[in-house]
């Protein structure tokens, strides 16, 4: 036992000395808060999906430009449509080394699973980095060239003959599909898949008839001339480049209510100090203004939309109310 305790003693002694040394160094700097250990970058979706790829892209930008003194470690907690991540954030109240990359399940999951007892207004909003958009997509071989053709084709095929692919029920794709069906008085079969990329592939393989994919999920097939967008679920003039050339539903005279976004924001647990929040806000501001991020937004048809602080919180609350209505809760 002797040897063991001496080694343990000397180890703790060494750690103690090192600790003392850095406390002194820390006091010398003693201005803004800086992370003391790697930051847990929780992603409220599984590996390989759109949200995951985006979060890892953000981590890549931070890593490439050494924006943070300690690395971000992506952790997927996609269980229960993000319920797992939200509960984790709740448990980590006041922890300065955890942040969460969110998507719309940030509001839909607490709405659909009230048992969780999640109140998103308790979390600390950091930054909204973009709003992802949705388009209505069909295969080029379908011969459909406009929303009008589309509605006619769906009506002719009927519920049984028309398959719309999307992610799980109650997820974004199904809400958009619901909007579409209500607006045009059409009915179709909604087939849920595991992720947007898979949905895109199923359209190209002609296993489904249409999708409401995000631009990033379909752009490769669009460029290759396999799929085409019929209309964007955005207000007119919000998208640039080739994405801007897609008509919006409002352009086509279907009113201004056919709009739906996927927000891409970062939040932190509640109860963190102001200087911690400021550190993250400035970190993500650097990400937001980087040329990589701006280039990505343009190429992948996302709408830039920097928001932070109280405005972001107000946005979350408004969106939550909107989704409560969409979900009929």
């Amino acid at each position: 036992m002797n040897k063991l305790s001496t080694s343990a003693l000397s180890l703790s002694l060494a750690v103690g000395l090192a600790l003392g040394a850095t406390t002194v160094a820390g006091e010398a700097k003693a201005k803004a808060w800086e992370p003391k250990k790697p930051i847990e970058f929780v992603i409220m979706a599984g590996k390989g999906g759109g949200a995951d790829r985006l979060a890892r892209f953000i981590q890549g930008i931070i890593e490439k430009h050494k924006m943070s003194p300690k690395p971000l470690i992506p952790i997927n907690k996609g269980g229960g449509s993000g319920a797992e991540a939200l509960q984790y954030l709740k448990a980590k109240n006041g922890d300065p080394h955890v942040i969460l990359a969110t998507l719309n399940s940030y509001y839909t999951t607490p709405l659909r699973q009230p048992k969780l007892g999640i109140d998103i207004s308790k979390y600390t909003p950091i930054a909204r980095l973009a709003e992802d958009t949705f388009q209505l997509w069909v295969h080029v071989d379908s011969g459909i060239n406009s929303v009008k053709d589309y509605v006619a084709a769906v009506k002719k095929a009927g519920k049984k003959g028309w398959k719309m692919g999307g992610t799980g029920k109650g997820a974004e794709d199904s809400l958009v599909t619901g909007m579409l069906m209500k607006k045009f008085g059409i009915d179709m079969t909604y087939v849920p898949y595991k992720g947007g990329g898979k949905v895109a592939k199923e359209l190209i393989g002609k296993h489904i008839n249409s999708t409401v994919n995000n631009p990033a999920e379909q752009v490769g097939f669009w460029d290759a001339g396999k799929s085409k967008p019929l209309a964007s679920f955005t207000p007119p003039g919000m998208l640039k480049g080739k994405w801007g050339k897609i008509p919006t539903f409002q352009d086509l005279g279907h009113g201004s209510d056919m709009v739906y976004y996927m927000q891409r924001s970062i939040v932190a647990p509640g109860g963190i100090a102001d200087d911690v929040r400021d550190f993250y806000v400035s970190l993500f501001q650097k990400v937001y203004t980087s040329s990589e991020w701006q280039g990505y937004l343009n190429k992948k048809g996302l709408i830039p939309g920097w928001l932070t602080g109280d405005k972001l919180q107000a946005y979350f609350i408004a969106e939550k109310a909107k989704h409560a209505k969409l979900l009929g809760k």
């Binding site: 996609g78 797992e84 849920p192």
Partner: protein
């Protein structure tokens, strides 16, 4: 001939000093990460992704491709040495690799695994080179009914893996499927089977947790009991002579290698499947066409060769839908896909046109990554053998420690460590009572795919179950699967009747 020209250009790229160094380094890193229980190619690629921003995209993908390959080779090492599959792709390798190691032939198993991996990898790269675009179309033709049919085929090929006690074998399959259903119901988006409302169940029961529990902790307890706590793990030796002898013996397994390579490759290119079903199916097929199926599971070299050839072939195969369609065929390729986005490349149908140097540089480097993984692997065999010679009372606590860390690392959640511990203890008790556990591990891997695809198919067909037989591809696969399922039953019945007659005759 155009392809050969591209390939020659690719080789020039892959032999640039930086790229060559990255291939060797990547293969080595991959080998070690793959050899750790709990860490597989997906971890290796994800973790080293940020490092690749320092080099051009072509070098970056070459590096990650080499890690991917190295890890596929490495996965076999922990399967054979410790009996713990390092990743789901290496489960089938434990079936015969572990018995070989226990017989003191770990070196033979390791050489077989490395060689088969090399053959599988090389054949699949050749197929990749020659037929990339047409095969991408095959992947597209696979919708939910075809995926379900494929899962049925996978189940059918390994139905024979269980023991003699039929109710216990089925129990094992069912419990694996139930565990696979824990977490989220994809179709309705509702959480389900959240036992005791513990939030840790929301992310489901990770395959690795069950595998490390059963094969790590359970196996250790088993070994402790059978050896009364203190014997050397196995009497393994290695020498150049033995390695050569092993290589000569492997020549006889060429048929199995070829079968595994082709099967693995074609299963690998299908977006849903990936390397795990590929390797399991290869094992099942090898066993069912073997002249001596009874020696499988007891240390048959063919049983190591088939899954190893298949899983490497499948990992090449799964790159195909990623590059050509932008659809990842496996979690690892999903991370690679993320990497390509960061480097500013658009995976998809135009990649082969717009970024020729990238695609062909990658393909050419896969040839060299294979070669280097093989050489490095064989060079390290003596070191791996040396580990086996440690006294068991040293090795066991180290393995327990590895299991605990390995169970924690994939999700960074202590919940999974506790779950792994429970699986280990319960699994050990069940194993003592003749419950076969391999079927449970396989079921947890394939369960989600099977359930999702059957429900998607039925939603699409409005509840009409004949959908699986109406479509040509899924219909064909289903019929093959049913034949495979019925064959062993027929055999059993025939044998019983024969035995009954013989008994009757004797009496």
């Amino acid at each position: 001939m155009e392809i050969l020209g591209h390939l020659a250009d690719g080789f020039l790229i892959s032999f640039e000093p930086l790229n060559l160094a990255l291939v060797i380094f990547g293969a080595m890193v991959g080998l070690f990460i793959g050899a750790m229980p709990g860490l597989g190619s997906v971890n290796g690629v994800a973790i080293l992704l940020p490092m690749t921003f320092l080099v051009p995209p072509t070098s970056a993908i070459i590096f990650l491709g080499a890690i991917y390959y190295g890890a596929m080779y490495g996965g076999a090492i922990s399967s054979i040495m410790l009996g713990i599959p390092g990743a789901s792709t290496a489960v089938a390798t434990t079936f015969d690799g572990r018995p070989l190691a226990l017989k003191g032939q770990a070196d033979k198993a390791l050489v077989a695994a490395a060689t088969a991996s090399f053959v599988g990898g090389t054949i699949s790269v050749i197929l990749f080179t020659a037929f990339a675009p047409p095969l991408a179309e095959v992947a597209l033709a696979f919708g939910p009914p075809e995926e379900f049919a494929l899962m049925m085929l996978a189940f059918a090929t390994f139905i024979g893996l269980g023991g003699d006690d039929i109710p216990k074998t089925f129990f094992s399959i069912f419990i694996g499927l139930v565990l696979s259903a824990v977490g989220l119901d994809v179709v309705s988006g509702e959480p389900r089977l959240i036992f005791m409302d513990l939030p840790g169940f929301l992310h489901g029961v990770n395959f690795l947790v069950l595998a490390i529990g059963i094969y790590g902790i359970g196996e250790m307890l088993w070994t402790v009991e059978t050896s009364r706590g203190n014997v050397s793990m196995s009497k393994a030796t290695v020498s150049a002579k033995r390695v050569m002898a092993a290589l000569r013996e492997l020549v006889g397994t060429w048929k199995t290698m070829l079968m595994g390579s082709f099967l693995g490759y074609f299963v690998g290119i299908l977006p849903a499947a990936g390397a795990t079903p590929g390797s399991l199916m290869a094992y099942g097929v090898a066993k069912s066409i073997a002249k001596d199926p009874s020696t499988y599971g007891k240390g048959n070299v063919d049983g190591v060769v088939a899954p190893e050839a298949a899983n490497n072939a499948a990992s090449t195969g799964s790159m195909l839908p990623m590059l050509t369609l932008g659809i990842p065929g496996s979690p690892t390729t999903a991370i690679l896909l993320g990497g390509m986005v960061i480097w500013g490349l658009e995976p998809g149908p135009l990649l082969f046109v717009d970024h020729k140097e990238f695609v062909w540089g990658l393909i050419a480097s896969l040839y060299s990554a294979n070669l280097f993984s093989l050489l490095i692997n064989i060079a390290f065999i003596p070191a791996f053998i040396a580990v086996l010679k440690l006294p068991f009372t040293i090795l066991a606590p180290v393995i327990f420690a590895l299991c605990v860390v390995g169970g924690y690392v994939p999700t960074l959640d202590m919940h999974d460590v506790w779950l792994m511990f429970i699986f280990g203890v319960v699994g050990y008790l069940m194993r003592k009572l003749d419950y076969p556990l391999a079927p449970a591990v396989l079921a947890i891997v394939l369960g989600p795919l099977a359930e999702r695809s059957v429900r998607q198919s039925l939603i699409g067909s409005h509840g009409d179950i004949t959908i699986f037989f109406q479509r040509p591809i899924s219909g064909t696969i289903m019929v093959v699967a049913i034949i495979l399922l019925v064959m062993p039953l027929y055999k059993i019945i025939r044998d019983r009747m024969k035995a009954g007659r013989d008994e009757g005759g004797a009496a």
